[in-house]
């Protein structure tokens, strides 16, 4: 168990939380990907890591992976790897797979929304 002080040691911590892998197992997850815990919420196996538990606990409602990383004080790259595993195991679900690249419909919707902020 790392002591709280060790949380600042990002390179080591991110190595530990990802089990040494540097890239997600699938490429559909990005910092802006929206996820929620799958309802009714299958419980994690005993062997689940602390980060997996924290991440799943954070995702009781809709949130982007970048936000979960910031709230958990973890590097985004580490969260993407752990989230991929939780998606593969069915614990996390992705709201909508990323549109590639942002299509005309989304750009128009975005424009209309932004115009209301002016």
């Amino acid at each position: 168990m790392p002591s709280p002080g060790e949380y600042r040691d990002r390179p080591v911590r991110s190595y530990v939380v990802t089990g040494g892998r540097s890239a997600p197992t699938r490429n559909t997850v990005r910092p802006e990907t929206l996820v929620t815990a799958t309802s009714p919420g299958a419980s994690l196996p005993m062997s689940a890591s602390r980060t997996e538990r924290e991440l799943l606990g954070m995702c009781q409602h809709l949130l982007s992976l970048a936000e979960t990383a910031a709230h958990l004080a973890l590097p985004v790259s580490a969260v993407l790897v752990v989230a991929s595993d939780l998606i593969d195991s069915g614990h996390l679900s992705v709201r909508t797979p990323a549109a590639e690249p942002a299509n005309i419909d989304i750009l128009e919707e975005l424009l209309n929304g932004l115009r209301k902020l002016v």
């Binding site: 990002r10 390179p11 991110s14 890239a23 997600p24 490429n27 997850v29 990005r30 910092p31 802006e32 990907t33 929206l34 606990g57 954070m58 009781q60 409602h61 809709l62 949130l63 982007s64 970048a66 936000e67 990383a69 910031a70 709230h71 973890l74 590097p75 985004v76 790259s77 993407l80 709201r95 909508t96 990323a98 549109a99 590639e100 690249p101 942002a102 299509n103 005309i104 989304i106 750009l107 128009e108 919707e109 975005l110 424009l111 209309n112 929304g113 932004l114 115009r115 209301k116 902020l117 002016v118």
Partner: protein
């Protein structure tokens, strides 16, 4: 956390179906965090990524102390623009190799809003160079963040001074003002939309 609900502002509204993102880039201290904060519905959040000399290059580490040389920070904000669409604004140091530290950050982005400080135009050259040569056609627009002592140029002078590709939109903004920041983002999205329409 157990009592947190989707209506307390931490979480994204449950009606949201899609996310989009825009990168806010620019040289050190040009107002990236300020712009993000002026538009965001949440206090800007911050994440750090480990940085290796291999991913950054020795030159960029010159002048940084050891602590800064081991992590690079990204801050970001969120704005729910329609009940079904949320926009994320990611602020990163301008150079492309820094965005590459964040897996998937540039992929799928609507485009980049490049903040420029006219008091230090030359600081923006490298950012713009990187965008033009390595961004694989990602649309970008330039927002001039005016400070009280900023020299004023008209848009044409800036296009020339910054050697921008023809058609690159240039807008002025005060990054502290929400409506100004939103106008900068609108300019970028209009530009991206025009590019998509030509392509399709």
């Amino acid at each position: 956390m157990a009592s947190a609900s989707s209506s307390d502002g931490l979480y994204v509204a449950d009606t949201v179906q899609r996310s989009a993102k825009i990168l806010v880039v620019g040289a050190f201290g040009v107002g990236k965090t300020t712009l993000i904060g002026s538009v965001s519905e949440i206090d800007p959040l911050r994440t750090e990524e480990a940085m290796t000399t291999a991913s950054v290059g020795i030159d960029d580490l010159a002048g940084l102390d050891d602590k800064k040389a081991t992590t690079v920070a990204m801050d970001f904000g969120r704005v729910t623009v329609t009940p079904e669409l949320v926009l994320y604004l990611f602020g990163t140091p301008g150079q492309r190799r820094f965005w590459d530290l964040w897996e998937g950050l540039a992929e799928g982005a609507v485009g980049a809003l490049v903040l420029v400080d006219t008091r230090r135009l030359e600081h923006s050259f490298e950012v713009l160079d990187q965008l033009e040569t390595h961004s694989k056609g990602m649309p970008f627009a330039v927002a001039i963040n005016n400070f009280p002592d900023s020299p004023r140029y008209d848009a044409e002078e800036l296009v020339e001074a910054l050697d921008l590709p023809p058609g690159t939109p240039v807008v002025e903004c005060d990054a502290r003002q929400r409506s100004d920041s939103a106008r900068g983002l609108i300019t970028l999205v209009e530009h991206a939309l025009a590019a998509q329409r030509v392509a399709s």
